[in-house]
């Protein structure tokens, strides 16, 4: 138990734990102190100064986010001095900000705009500083647009990139009025070590960092009668989308989302969860094949641990940071790209469509997927496999534009052929999900029995711990897998690239001896992706994870290999996992990238 101390906030005495910041103490007692540079995911910066409060007896005001309470503090959060100063600070930020709100992508979801509205800043007394600066918009990246004229220098993006991701693509340069958030040598975001994970976007309070949106392109495709527009939705979208459209963060809106997509005019609405199941078939088989090659054939070229390859942010990270370890990656494409390749082959054939006319759209919780779809090797169908990638946020915008009353929609099921999924596909959206899904299938494949965890829930790989470990011992395998008898499969799960870094370093140093590792670029996995609704914070991530696991529990089928459409695609089209066709369509290769 922490020691309790007594303080007073706005004249009300309260008892709080020692070392609580003034900001947290106020929140606990129902007093809201506005913030800008503060974010629950990040270390305290205390640089915007919006959260200043008055401590009686002190001449200067104090940043509530950065100051711990002390016994007997008499704190005023709304005194005249505080109000005047806070108003000044908001006015100063606005004077430096390109406040062309109606033409801003973040209009309506901007923390600075919200503050300006609360404090009713109606006049422009201070001199506008934007025209004096030579701002250019960096829009070379397929994922991220960076507009410095909207930046308020809160450094949330910088802290995100350093603390959550350890990438440090964004940093602070220069000082005084020239101070800005920029990249290595002020190059374009596309030309530096950036994983396109979009966490900076998710943590930006204003419109300085936003995703490159493809909303109009998708509307055009839908309107084009010569095109057959097919859409896939990622597992994590269904637990996030509701937040943008009036629901809380633990609400699953799968059926409503499908209904909305149909109303938007997509010709077919299908599920990335289907290719998530397919990924498990391919990746699980790949893992077992690698084990066999190592243990039976003693092939020196086979690399362990094998690492998952579903997260394009992680892929770009390893290509930049550990180019010598690319052989460790599973060759499986991500579920999005598997879907894309099949959409213009398997689906086109089954529906008797000219693949030329198919426009393949994906709805992702991710901005790195935009980059991934753009990779030159992702053309295995003979066309660009995925034409447009929209984030969860962009889909919400389309639904609002279309005038769909989302709350009142009924539930609709995905279209057939690539719309069926199992609980294993669903949990891809949470950290540890790919691991859990893979173990459910691989274990059964080897032993013919269910994975030895209560109700198939492999809880050691769940939760928000940065690096998680699990060991599965294989006993009494089927005849063809006898070489695995007694083998302890050591697995690890890392989410957030800063944790990926830790695991990679432990592999390089030889400290760890894992066989299989799941890596996800974003904290919490895809449910905390850079393309998810803003805000995303630890509490929201936890709730989205609960929703995902609830969805899994509620599904009749919870193992990828049970998915009838998976059985069908192998029967009709792919033959078997790692078949020649699979290799052509579902697997890929990686390229080393420079560190600068």
């Amino acid at each position: 138990m922490a020691k309790k101390i007594k303080i007073s906030i706005n004249g009300v005495s309260v008892e709080i734990d020692q070392d609580t910041t003034i900001l947290d103490a106020a929140r606990q007692t129902g007093v809201i102190i506005p913030t800008l540079c503060y974010h629950k995911d990040l270390c305290v910066a205390g640089n915007c100064r919006v959260c200043i409060v008055e401590i009686m007896g002190q001449k200067r005001l104090t940043a509530a986010c950065a100051t711990p309470c002390e016994e007997g503090m008499d704190i005023l959060t709304n005194s005249l001095k505080v109000r005047n100063s806070r108003k000044h600070i908001i006015e100063l930020l606005l004077s430096e900000h390109n406040a062309d709100c109606t033409r801003c992508y973040k209009n309506g979801n901007c923390e600075l705009q919200k503050l300006a509205s609360e404090y009713k800043i109606m006049t422009q007394d201070f001199i506008r500083l934007v025209p004096f600066k030579n701002y250019t918009i960096d829009q070379f990246s397929p994922s991220i647009i960076k507009d410095d004229s909207k930046c308020i220098r809160c450094q949330r993006c910088v802290r995100t990139c350093a603390e959550l991701q350890g990438v440090n693509a964004l940093t602070v340069a220069h000082k005084g009025d020239q101070m800005k958030i920029t990249t290595f040598f002020e190059k374009a975001m596309n030309d530096v070590v950036c994983t396109n994970c979009g966490q900076c976007i998710n943590h930006c309070p204003t419109g300085a960092l936003v995703e490159k949106n493809y909303i109009e392109e998708v509307w055009d495709a839908i309107a084009d009668k010569t095109k057959h527009v097919i859409v896939q939705t990622a597992p994590a979208v269904r637990v996030g989308l509701g937040e943008e459209l009036g629901f809380g963060p633990c609400v699953r809106v799968t059926g409503k989302m499908v209904a909305a997509l149909k109303r938007l005019g997509f010709d077919a609405v299908m599920d990335t969860d289907f290719t998530a199941d397919l990924t498990i078939m391919e990746e699980g088989t790949e893992l077992l094949t690698r084990l066999k090659r190592k243990m039976v054939d003693h092939d020196p070229d086979v690399k362990f641990p094998m690492a998952t390859s579903c997260s394009p942010g992680w892929i770009k990270y390893i290509e930049h940071m550990y180019p010598d370890y690319l052989d460790h990656l599973s060759t499986c494409k991500s579920p999005q790209q598997m879907f894309g390749a099949l959409a213009k082959t398997y689906y086109a054939k089954a529906r008797n469509l000219d693949p030329e006319t198919i426009v393949s759209v994906s709805i992702m919780p991710c901005t790195a997927k935009k980059f991934e779809a753009n990779r030159p090797e992702m053309h295995d169908s003979g066309y660009r496999d995925v034409d447009y990638v929209l984030t969860t946020r962009e889909l919400a915008i389309m639904i609002k534009q279309a005038g769909i009353d989302f709350m009142r929609l009924g539930d609709v099921h995905y279209d057939r052929l690539m719309g069926e999924s199992t609980g294993a596909g669903v949990i891809f959206g949470a950290t540890g999900g790919v691991m859990e899904a893979a173990l459910r299938t691989a274990y059964e494949l080897v032993t013919g029995r269910d994975v030895p965890f209560d109700n198939l829930n492999i809880t050691p790989v769940r939760g928000m711990e940065g690096v998680k470990e699990a060991t599965v011992k294989i006993e009494n395998p089927l005849k063809e897998w006898t070489f695995l008898e007694g083998v302890e499969l050591k697995c690890a799960v890392a989410h957030g690239l800063v944790n990926a870094h830790k695991v990679m370093e432990s592999i390089i140093s030889g400290e760890s001896n894992y066989q299989f590792i799941e890596f996800m670029a974003c904290p919490g996995g895809c449910l905390g992706g850079g393309g998810q609704p803003i805000p995303t914070n630890p509490e929201i991530r936890r709730k989205r994870a609960e929703a995902i696991y609830a969805e899994d529990e509620g599904m009749p089928l919870r193992k990828s290999h049970q998915n009838p459409e998976i059985i069908k695609i192998y029967k009709d089209f792919l033959d078997h996992p790692l078949s020649e066709k699979s290799h052509h369509l579902l697997h890929t290769h990686y390229s080393p990238r420079d560190r600068f």
Binding site: G46, R49, R60, L92, E96
Partner: protein, 394 residues
């Protein structure tokens, strides 16, 4: 040279004394608490600008429990109009080194650093020689203390103690949130004493002559002597060690050119005192002195009637606009607004009342900026604008 009995010259700092070995050996054989008490009773306050009681600073770090502690000499002398520290380091470096080692003895630190202003790289070779000699002696008497020089890179903000730590740690020189304070969490998160060069030199005097000799100089709340860097419209610019508590009138009598219009005390982050206030202004730390009393790094800039106070302010603001680290809103944007604001008033683009809005803005900057830089921009701005308002407008 005229002498004024009201303006008492003192000669402690630059007095060439070759007995540093003696002072060092003597001091490190005294109990830390005794040395702290000596400093506390001398009422020595930091000579860098903020004026924190030195004895208390050492005491807090001595009380902090940690195996590793540091002593840092802040030689990032960047305040416009201040040029005393470099003279101390080049003329009497051993006083400073000795004081650092004694501080190490008091608080339990084995390592000291001199954070040397980037522009002072020319001092480095001689200073290094002194350090080698000093460390050799320490070894001889079996006293474990080493000193290294850390070169700054030219940012004014890095003189702010926590920004200085960040800079030494290889990070961007940005001030930290306080608390925690350096005495418990400074360089590398360890308890750290960070003192200005001159402050350390004064501790040498105190350890040599005892607290009373120091305390007897000066006035209440402002004890001892201080180096003043005198510049501007004066026939005798230079560095002078003077007793604290003198009136500005006496100072101008001594150093002015007969036409002194105003004196900027404490550099760009200090105050401007107009002629009509000379007689009621005493030079010392903030306390119960008559008139405004001044936080001071010791910069005294004299301006005569040929000077435009608008240009003076414009120059200071230009300096702050560039030297703000840019981290916190009030300082980064505030400085830009003040600079652009006075220019706009001068050009007639904003009316005279806009100056009042800017004065209120400086008040906000004083209340809300993260560190001393942003907080003290108000000093020169308000003292110049209030006293020379007409010059700002016409």
């Amino acid at each position: 040279m005229t002498t004024n009995y009201l303006l008492k010259r003192v000669d402690f700092i630059f007095k060439n004394e070759n007995d540093w070995e003696v002072i060092l050996s003597k001091s490190i054989n005294r109990a830390p608490q005794e040395l702290i008490n000596e400093l506390i009773s001398s009422e020595l306050k930091g000579r860098g600008g903020a004026g924190f009681p030195t004895g208390l600073k050492w005491k807090l770090s001595a009380e902090a429990v940690n195996d590793t502690k540091y002593v840092i000499c802040n030689a990032d002398e960047g305040e416009p109009g201040t040029f005393k520290d470099r003279e101390i380091l080049s003329r009497v470096p051993f006083k400073v080194l000795t004081a650092m080692a004694v501080c190490g003895h008091v608080i339990g630190a084995k390592e000291g650093y001199i954070y040397l202003r980037g522009e002072y790289h020319f001092l480095r070779p001689e200073l290094n020689k002194a350090i080698v000699e000093f460390e050799y002696y320490c070894k001889e008497i079996k006293f474990d203390f080493s000193i290294k020089i850390f070169m700054g890179s030219g940012a004014y903000i890095c003189g702010e103690e926590t920004a200085l730590f960040e800079s030494m740690e290889g990070k961007r020189g940005e001030p930290r949130n306080k608390p925690p304070f350096p005495s418990t969490s400074g360089y590398m998160g360890k308890p750290t004493v960070i003192n200005n060069v001159e402050t350390l030199a004064h501790t040498f005097t105190i350890f040599k002559y005892g607290a009373k000799r120091f305390y007897d100089l000066g006035v209440q709340y402002s004890r001892g002597s201080k180096l003043f860097s005198v510049s501007g419209d004066t026939p005798k610019p230079g560095i002078y060690e003077l007793e604290l508590g003198m009136s500005l009138e006496d100072f101008v009598e001594e150093f002015g050119d007969g036409d002194t219009k105003a004196v900027q005390v404490g550099g760009a982050s200090g105050f401007l005192v107009p002629r009509k206030r000379f007689h009621e202004t005493a030079i010392g730390f903030q306390g119960k002195l008559t008139g405004i009393s001044l936080p001071t790094g010791g910069s005294m800039m004299l301006f005569n009637s040929s000077r435009s106070m608008f240009n003076v302010l414009d120059n200071y603001l230009e300096f702050f606009r560039e030297e703000s680290c840019g981290q916190c809103t009030p300082c980064r944007v505030g400085c830009q607004q003040l600079l652009k604001g006075i220019k706009a008033v001068k050009r007639g683009e904003k009316n005279a009342q806009y100056l009042d809005k800017l004065l209120r803005l400086t008040e906000t900057m004083q209340y809300t900026a993260k560190c001393g830089l942003g907080q003290s921009v108000a000093n020169s701005f308000s003292s110049i604008v209030e006293n020379f308002r007409e010059e700002m407008i016409y």
